[in-house]
Symmetry: C2
Subunit: 349 residues, 2 copies
DNA sequence: TTGAAAGCGCTACCAG
DNA sequence: CTGGTAGCGCTTTCAA
């Protein structure tokens, strides 16, 4: 089923059929009607491959993320996609599962598709892959890639200041034994975020004991990480998680052991995904404006209508802390405070 | 950057370059090396559009789902995708957000892409769209579409028996005032599942009062639905939800009102997504084998290697009930039982 | 307003 | 084992 069959049936040339598809006003009404009828009768669908081959241009944007299972990524994609649709673009998403090999495959596939732009929303980008990307001469944007390249948009969140505020808060609440939960990155020996935690907590006070564990991103990974911490004998008064998703897993494991949050142990997340309000107890976390990031991603990839001065290529996104129910004052060395001492706090809807 | 440039640089014909790309063994080692080097130096990426145009075949499968935000769908896609990759296929996913208009767009886009097969994992399929699909002559599989067509694979879960078991269980626990929470489908006046609930509960006993409310699929929708039920004055002893995702939202709203689950009110989900074990309290739900469905989806779309007898085109998937912490005996007409009466139950990991 | 025809980049077949 | 070449289905001049 192709243009030619439609053309034959409508008794016009293929050029005319093409016109009614791409620029209907350029065709006489009666002719157009005849063509549209033929299209309808034949249930014709234009071949996208032929179209982009011939046209030499693509209205497809590529987005590569680390873990579609983590709602954080979907939230970003969702708004980027809605922007895209509004401007006549399609979005194709690939998932790497934090695997470098899969990242390489995905990048190649996207380039093979001749996407009009490519977003890499992956934790930690391998510098060796960057050259491949710049050579493609299409708009590229990184989020969270911890690497910056000339000519490539780079969106990062200010993880460090977010972490510092969280740590300050906990420290002021008397916490002096903290554990950090992060996930594998497979791209660097110590995750950038783990490193930030370590550095920030060290700078805060020499009297804070800390440890960190790593597991797979996800609910199960969070629970496993909590298990590891608790079984290690470290006995923290607070557990900080690299993201909300893992924190929910941590919460579950603590509950399983009848540890109360926050009376026995405080827990924090990061991201402020919707789930952080729906878990129990609701998570104290750091808000990352995912909608804004989604818009930024689209803006970076879509060619600007008016050639206005290109905005800066580097963005450092601010965050803010959201206090909910999962944090409270540190218990006194093993002496569990009465539950009345739990700080009353509004759980913001 | 195209085949020709590579060919020129490697001093071979385009045919040879094409061979090293698709059938390397057919090319002499030294020539192959020369070509590969040229590819490398030029950072050449084959044009997928040209490729599928010329080859006339596509290794891409399309999957359309209702709501990527609901983990249920991702779980299915994940295994279908892994099967696909193992067999050299790619998967492209589209999300309809339960909007019919978006469904139509997505179908058209998939057909335009000339996908080798198309899965529709959407709640309730509009019969009027089916013709468009069958006319495409590619393998099609429906999940949950509540419509069956000759020549199209159809996977359905036995929602009715799952619902009946759930209702039996609750009924035996003394529940006689139940509310059902479902989501909009936009495709039929009353959702198929809501209808099943109504029918099944009526058949079970004439002494059960029930109501049902509808809201958007998701955490917020679940909470809003719970709000509506609670504010209606109906005062149910149990709330059954169309899926786990919404049930988690219900749980949150009950907690906000200091209603205890299951002492004051029982809650059930459906699907048995991972989250149902991580929420609080862990959900009593009905297990749907998502992995099996994912495999089935891939099998339906991928051409069989050996032309073995095509298996039946209709599948009715069995489910089983998973009892966790969110259900218990019905409270006695407003008299809240002592918490000691709560049935001891194992929370299965 | 419409038609003819030259590609777009690649595959696949036929020769050599 | 390699090259030449005819399409794949569509867009886009250029003419008419």
């Amino acid at each position: 089923m192709n243009l030619e069959e439609v053309a034959r049936r409508a008794k016009v040339s293929t050029a005319t059929v093409s016109r009614v598809l791409n620029n209907p006003e350029a065709v006489k009404v009666t002719t157009r009607a005849r063509v549209n009828q033929a299209i309808e009768e034949l249930k014709y669908h234009p071949n996208l491959h032929a179209r982009s081959l011939a046209g030499g241009k693509s209205r497809t944007l590529g987005v590569i993320v680390s873990n579609m299972e983590n709602p954080f990524f979907f939230d970003v994609i969702k708004v980027a996609e809605s922007d895209a649709h509004a401007r006549g673009y399609e979005i194709v998403v690939a998932n790497t599962d934090y695997r470098r090999e899969q990242l390489v495959r995905s990048i190649q596939l996207m380039l093979a598709r001749r996407v009009a732009g490519l977003a890499l929303i992956v934790s930690e980008m391998d510098p060796s892959l960057v050259h491949e990307l710049t050579a493609s001469h299409i708009p590229i944007v990184f989020y969270d890639a911890f690497t910056s390249e000339p000519g490539i948009w780079n969106i990062q969140i200010d993880y460090e200041s977010g972490m510092r505020r969280l740590l300050d808060h906990l420290h002021r609440s008397g916490h002096a034994r903290m554990a950090f939960v992060s996930h594998h990155s497979n791209l660097s020996p110590m995750g950038v975020r783990e490193e930030i935690f370590t550095r920030t907590v060290s700078a805060l006070s020499p009297h804070i004991d800390f440890m960190s564990v790593t597991n797979v991103d996800g609910l199960d990974g969070g629970a496993a990480a909590a298990r590891e911490i608790l079984d290690s004998g470290f006995d923290p008064t607070a557990i900080l998680c690299v993201n909300d998703f893992m924190a929910v897993g941590v919460l579950r494991e603590l509950r399983r052991r009848d540890l109360r949050v926050p009376e026995d142990i405080s827990v924090t997340g990061f991201d402020d995904i919707k789930l952080s309000q729906y878990c129990y107890p609701a998570l104290t976390t750091v808000h990352i404006p995912r909608g804004r990031i989604g818009h930024l991603v689209f803006d970076a990839l879509a060619p600007k209508p008016d050639a206005q001065p290109q905005p800066a290529h580097e963005f450092l996104i601010d965050t803010h802390t959201v206090l909910r129910e999962s944090t409270g004052p540190a218990r006194n060395n093993g002496v569990v405070p009465a539950s009345g001492s739990r700080a009353a706090r509004q759980d913001r809807q």
